[in-house]
């Protein structure tokens, strides 16, 4: 009885559900703020943390402005080198998001292309791709990323390694996440291919590539969007973890993970702010993305209603 209703506008329905979901709205707002802060960091940050000239070691490890020893120049204090923590966090978020988005972009393009082709063509191509995915799945994402990073260290000379670190990280994280996209795209393509509108296009004699792009791809975007969002959170998390482990971005361009890593060294001597604020930023950002992912998944999954 509700089939007619349920089929009504996936887009409109999504919008409707979003407008009636305060938590999702809040999450979207937070995500936008993070994105905005990251994009505009060079203009809104009070200091440039990369500019060594502006840093004074005498300012190091100052507590937040509201505490007794605080300095009003640094709202949430400074780190061990005297960098303004707020500025460092803005720039760190910028770096973390940049790596996260780039690697997800890389993973999704690779995964969706391979997955749609495998699901549509089937046969040998499909089984080869799925075997590769099996191998890849037997190596957890963080391990793959670490491994690729390790290989890059082995191949690239030290200096260029630091410069290329963002590229290496993007490829490492991207390669460790493409399988999710490929599997989802393949399974959805498989379902769509058996539907009658695709059969009609095949009967017409339409070129397979055109069928995949015009007919199948737009119809499988829903589940892919869910993976995209959820894996964006995973990518940010991976980048932070790699940086925390000291194999991520070089320390002169600290990402959130690097800031936390630096902060832990001072946690036990009482300088809690150095670790707390970057951690909070990271967690809030990932929670927001995850809430959006959950929202999308529930909204696009008719079985849950």
């Amino acid at each position: 009885m509700f089939t007619a209703l349920r089929r009504y506008a996936i887009e409109n329905e999504l919008l409707y559900l979003f407008l009636h979901n305060r938590i999702a709205q809040l999450a979207a707002l937070v995500a936008l703020l993070c994105l905005g802060g990251a994009a505009l960091a060079p203009w809104i940050a009070p200091y440039d943390p990369y500019d060594i000239a502006s840093i004074d070691l005498l300012d190091s490890l100052l507590p937040p402005a509201w505490s007794e020893d605080g300095d009003t120049r640094f709202i949430i204090g400074t780190d061990d080198q005297g960098r303004d923590l707020f500025s460092a966090i803005l720039y760190g978020t910028r770096l973390s998001l940049l790596v996260g988005l780039l690697s997800i972009g890389f993973a999704s393009i690779l995964g969706i292309t391979v997955g749609v082709l495998a699901g549509y063509l089937g046969g040998r191509f499909d089984s080869i791709v799925m075997r590769i995915a099996d191998v890849q799945l037997s190596l957890p994402a963080i391990l793959t990323a670490l491994l690729i990073d390790g290989i890059a260290r082995g191949i690239l000379p030290r200096e260029s390694h630091d410069n290329l670190m963002i590229v290496v990280l993007t490829i490492a994280i991207g390669l460790s996440l493409w399988v999710n996209f490929a599997r989802t795209a393949r399974a959805s393509t498989f379902v769509e291919k058996s539907k009658e509108y695709v059969q009609a296009a095949i009967i017409m004699g339409m070129h397979p590539l055109r069928i995949m792009v015009v007919h199948i791809l737009p119809n499988i975007l829903g589940p892919l969007m869910v993976i995209l969002t959820i894996d964006l959170a995973v990518a940010i998390l991976l980048e932070a973890t790699l940086s925390f482990l000291g194999v991520g971005v070089p320390p002169n361009q600290p990402s959130l993970g690097t800031l936390i890593r630096i902060g832990t060294e001072y946690l036990f001597s009482g300088e809690w702010w150095v670790v707390l604020f970057p951690s909070l930023t990271l967690i809030i950002m990932i929670v927001a993305v995850n809430i959006l992912g959950d929202f999308l998944r529930d909204a696009l999954n008719p079985r849950l209603r």
Binding site: R131, I132, D134, V135, L137, S138, L139, P140, A141, I142, L143, L146, L147, D149, G150, I151, R153, G154, I155, A233, L237, A240, T241, F244, L245, G246, V247, G257, I260, T264, L267, F268, W272, V275, S279, L282, I283, I286, V287, N290, I291, D294, R303, L304
Partner: protein, 325 residues
């Protein structure tokens, strides 16, 4: 059953072969193995002699076959960094990682599964909603942040628990265990919790999602319409039907636990394989890297084989289909 398992074994073999190939490529092509082994002052002739002795001048396929032969006979070569046999290094660190992983898996399943069932049944209830929000935060906090927080709270502020290393262990042959001393158990608590929290939230969310799907099926509706009591409805009818996807994911999670033990071990300076691997990455210690890789893949393959066999016992459709063959 036999064909079923033999097919699985064949697939596992393929995976292992592929991973060994990666490991071999790592070993052979990332950096020059000879340059890593010898000092700067060794002459070119000496290097060439070593090269010849190691068989590095043979054809690549021959080298690969030899590499696999060595792997199979547990001859893993020497670490570039410490000059120790890799097998020895791994063997001393394996128990630490396995025990840590085991305890955190236990934590994640014992709490995660019941909590998942609860949130699926009491959908919309106050406690269920609170739990759900908690899990969302749970999967969003990076493992290392949880570790740092726990260390700060229980180690630094309260001073209740050790935050560093394994504490006292007792040796059972070559296996050093933390389970038999109080200090060892106390040292285990924080790292296991750190590692377990993420897996726990994952388990709970998964069990919940699967339960919700099953509760919507016709056979559950029919069982409800027959007045089957709720306890049997939820556990005997519904939960049993979620077991297959749940077991699959638990299998994958074991891999996740091993992988994230790298992070946990780094935070707690836990002397396990993860820490070893991390060091090998930092110092480009290729033999350790490649062996670690092969070992992880092997664990994964074994876990998957066990999972497949569990399917066999849970699902009559799989069982009977293979009997019919």
């Amino acid at each position: 059953m036999l064909t079923f398992i033999s097919r699985r074994l064949l697939q596992s073999l393929f995976v292992m072969l592929a991973v060994s190939l990666i490991a071999f490529a790592l070993f052979r092509f990332v950096g020059d193995p000879v340059a890593q082994m010898v000092g700067q002052e060794t002459s070119i002739e000496d290097q060439e002699r070593i090269r010849e002795r190691l068989g590095l001048n043979d054809s690549i396929p021959t080298q690969f076959v030899r590499f696999i032969g060595k792997l199979a006979s547990a001859d893993f070569g020497y670490s570039y960094r410490t000059r120790q046999p890799v097998s020895e290094m791994i063997l001393t660190r394996l128990p630490a990682t396995l025990e840590l992983g085991f305890v955190s898996l236990l934590i994640s399943l014992l709490i995660g599964i019941p909590a998942g069932i609860y949130t699926a049944i009491k959908r919309g209830g106050a406690l269920a909603n609170t739990l759900l929000v908690t899990t969302l935060v749970g999967i969003s906090i990076p493992t290392f942040v949880i570790g740092i927080f726990l260390i700060y709270l229980f180690g630094v502020k309260l001073g209740w628990l050790p935050t560093f290393g394994r504490g006292d262990t007792i040796a059972l042959g070559w296996w050093k265990t933390s389970f038999l001393t109080l200090d060892g158990l106390k040292s285990m608590l924080l790292p296991a919790l750190t590692l377990g929290v993420y897996q726990l939230t994952l388990t709970m969310r998964l069990v919940r999602a699967e339960m919700q799907d099953v509760l919507k099926t016709d056979y559950i509706k029919f069982a409800t319409a027959r007045g089957i009591n709720y306890r049997s409805l939820y556990f005997n009818h519904a939960f049993r039907n979620t077991l297959i996807p749940v077991i699959t994911i638990i299998g994958l999670q074991l891999g996740g636990i091993i992988a994230f033990s790298i992070v946990t071990e780094s935070v707690f300076q836990w002397p396990g394989m993860g820490l070893l691997f991390l060091d090998s990455i930092r110092y480009v210690d290729i033999p350790v890297m490649s062996v670690y890789l092969v070992l992880i893949a092997m664990m994964f393959v074994i876990i998957n084989l066990i999972v497949d066999m569990l399917y066999f016992f849970i699902d009559p459709r799989v069982r009977l289909a293979s009997e019919a063959n």
